[in-house]
C-alpha cells in the first residue's frame, strides 16, 4: 500500500478536477443554537400569548408546529425540485447530495405534519384519520418522498443514483400541486374542509414567528445533512484514489 499523502494520491490517480472536491462545508454550531433557541422562544411566545380557541381550547396550539412543519415540507420539496433540475442540467454531484439531504429533511417534516394532524384530530374529530384535503395530500406527498428515498437505497452506482433520483425528484415535485388540487376537489365537492389551521388574527403573529424559527431549523438540518453527505463522498473519493494510485 502506498504511503503517499492523500492529496498526492488523488492527483496521481488522474481524477478529473470535478471529483477532486473542495473540502466539505462546516455548518456553524452557533447557527444551530440560534435556530433552536428561536424555535423555543417562538413556541413559548405563542403558547403564552394566544387565547384558548372556542371549541378546542388549548389543543389549537398544536397548529403552531403542525402548520409550519407542513410549510417546511413544501419548501424542502421545492429545494429537491430545484437541485434535481440543476443536477440534470449541470451534472454536479453536490447538487444531487443537496437534493437528497432536502428530501430526507422534507420526509421527516412531512411525517411530523401527519403525526401532529392525527394527534390533533383524535380529540377534535374523535377519529385518528379523516380523508380531508390537506391531510390526504400530505400523506401522498409523504409517499412520494418515501419512494424517492427508496429508489436511492436500491441503486448502488453513485452516478446512476444521482441521475435517477434527480429525474424522480423533479417529476415527483411537479406532481405536488396537482395532487393537492385534485384531492381538494375530491373533498370540497362533498364536504367542507376542516383542519386546525384556522387563521384567526389572534394566531397569525405566533404562526409567523414559528414559521420563521422553524425555517431556520430546517436550513440547519439540511445543511448538516448535506455536510455529512459531502463527508461520505469525500471518503469514497479517497478510497478511489487509493485504489487507483496504490500498487
Amino acid at each position: 500500500m502506498s504511503s503517499k499523502p492523500d492529496d498526492q494520491l488523488m492527483l496521481d490517480s488522474g481524477l478529473s478536477s470535478e471529483t477532486r472536491t473542495a473540502p466539505p462545508p462546516r455548518t456553524s454550531v452557533l447557527f444551530g443554537f440560534i435556530a433552536f433557541a428561536a424555535l423555543i422562544a417562538a413556541q413559548v411566545f405563542s403558547i403564552l400569548t394566544s387565547p384558548a380557541e372556542g371549541d378546542m381550547g388549548h389543543l389549537q396550539k398544536i397548529m403552531y408546529v403542525h402548520v409550519p412543519a407542513a410549510w417546511m415540507a413544501f419548501i424542502s420539496f421545492f429545494v429537491v425540485l430545484a437541485f434535481s433540475v440543476r443536477y440534470l442540467w449541470q451534472k454536479r454531484e453536490n447538487d444531487d447530495l443537496l437534493a437528497a439531504s432536502a428530501a430526507e429533511v422534507g420526509a421527516t417534516f412531512t411525517g411530523l405534519t401527519l403525526m401532529l394532524g392525527m394527534i390533533w384530530g383524535r380529540p377534535a374529530w374523535g377519529v385518528w384519520w379523516v380523508w380531508d384535503a390537506r391531510l390526504t395530500s400530505t400523506l401522498v406527498l409523504f409517499l412520494i418522498f418515501v419512494g424517492y428515498l427508496a429508489l436511492r437505497a436500491f441503486v448502488d452506482d453513485a452516478e446512476q443514483r444521482a441521475r435517477w433520483s434527480a429525474a424522480v425528484g423533479a417529476i415527483g415535485a411537479i406532481n405536488v400541486p396537482i395532487v393537492y388540487m385534485s384531492v381538494k376537489w375530491w373533498r370540497t365537492l362533498h364536504q367542507p374542509p376542516s383542519s386546525p389551521a384556522t387563521l384567526d388574527p389572534a394566531y397569525t403573529m405566533g404562526l409567523r414567528l414559528n414559521a420563521i424559527a422553524l425555517l431556520l431549523v430546517t436550513i440547519y438540518f439540511i445543511r448538516k445533512r448535506y455536510e455529512i453527505a459531502r463527508l461520505e463522498r469525500a471518503v469514497e473519493h479517497l478510497a478511489e484514489a487509493a485504489a487507483m494510485g496504490g500498487k
Binding site: 490517480s13 488522474g14 478529473s16 471529483t19 452516478e159 478510497a239 478511489e240 485504489a243 487507483m244 494510485g245
Partner: protein, 247 residues
C-alpha cells in the same frame, strides 16, 4: 495450414503505448468500480489503426468492463479514453456510430425470427430492408431466417449477432469472447469479418481467455491483472505465429 500461411503479413511490433492522437483506441487511466470493489484501477493502453489486439485476463478481471466502457455502455469513474479521436463521454453518440460491439450475451429477441431481428436492426440503423437477407447468408443463417431465435443454438445466436454487427459497418470492433460457442467454420467467419474491418483501416480489440482461435490474426496481446494492464506482448504473438507456420 495453407490458410495460416496465406494470412496477412506480419506487422512490426508496436510499443506498449504510443500516445498518438489518431489511435483507433486510446485509453488513459480508466477506472471503474462496482459498489466498493474497484474492478479497473488505471487501465492505460492504445490500439492503432490496422491493429488487432487481444485483451487477456482471468475471469472477473474486468475485460468485459473495459469493452463496455470503450463502447459507451458504461461511464468510467476515472480516466479518459478516445475512439478514433472522439471522447467516449463527451462525444458518446459519435463513438457509437463508429464502434461495433459484440457482447458476451447475444442480446437478441428470442420470440422474433432471425430475419425479424435484423429487420429491426435495419429500422434502427436507417438501412434498407433489402440488405438483411444478404447479411443472413453471409453468416450462414440463410436457411433458418424465418425461425425464431429461441430455437437457435448458442453458436447460431452468435452468428446472428455478428450479422447485426456487420450491418453497422463499424470501423472499431470491440468483441467480448467472440469465438465462444463457434465451430471451426464460425471461427473462420469471425476472423474474416475482423480482417475486412482491418483492411478498411479499422482496428479490433478482442477480450479472450484463450488465444488459440485468434492466433492467425492477432498482432498484440494485453494482459489485464488486478485492474491494470500488466504486460503487453507483441513478441510472443510473433513467435507463436512463426512457430505455427514452421510446423
Amino acid at each position: 495450414m495453407a490458410r495460416l500461411l496465406a494470412r496477412a503479413p506480419l506487422r512490426a511490433p508496436h510499443s506498449m503505448y504510443n500516445g498518438q492522437p489518431d489511435q483507433a483506441i486510446d485509453a488513459r487511466g480508466i477506472g471503474r468500480r462496482f459498489g466498493i470493489r474497484w474492478v479497473l484501477r488505471g487501465v492505460t493502453f492504445g490500439v492503432g489503426r490496422g491493429e488487432v489486439a487481444a485483451l487477456l485476463g482471468p475471469n472477473g478481471s474486468g475485460k468485459s468492463t473495459v469493452l463496455r466502457i470503450l463502447g459507451t455502455l458504461l461511464r468510467p469513474n476515472a480516466g479518459t479514453a478516445t475512439v478514433n479521436g472522439r471522447d467516449i463521454v463527451a462525444q458518446a453518440a459519435s463513438v457509437r456510430g463508429q464502434v461495433g460491439y459484440l457482447a458476451h450475451t447475444p442480446g437478441l429477441y428470442d420470440d422474433l425470427t432471425a430475419r425479424e431481428n435484423l429487420l429491426f436492426a435495419a429500422d434502427m440503423l436507417g438501412l434498407p430492408h433489402a440488405s438483411v437477407d444478404g447479411n443472413l447468408a453471409r453468416v450462414g443463417l440463410g436457411e433458418v431466417a424465418g425461425s425464431r431465435v429461441r430455437g437457435f443454438s448458442a453458436g447460431m445466436q452468435r452468428r446472428l449477432a455478428l450479422a447485426r454487427l456487420i450491418m453497422r459497418s463499424p470501423s472499431v470492433l470491440l468483441l467480448d469472447e467472440p469465438y465462444a460457442n463457434l465451430d471451426e467454420n464460425g471461427v473462420e467467419l469471425m476472423n474474416s469479418v475482423i480482417r475486412d474491418v482491418i483492411a478498411s483501416g479499422g482496428a479490433a480489440l478482442l477480450a479472450l481467455h484463450e488465444l488459440a482461435p485468434a492466433r492467425a490474426i492477432l498482432d498484440r496481446t494485453l494482459t489485464l491483472i488486478e485492474g491494470r494492464i500488466a504486460t503487453t506482448n507483441s513478441e510472443r504473438a510473433v513467435r507463436e505465429r512463426a512457430s505455427l507456420a514452421t510446423v
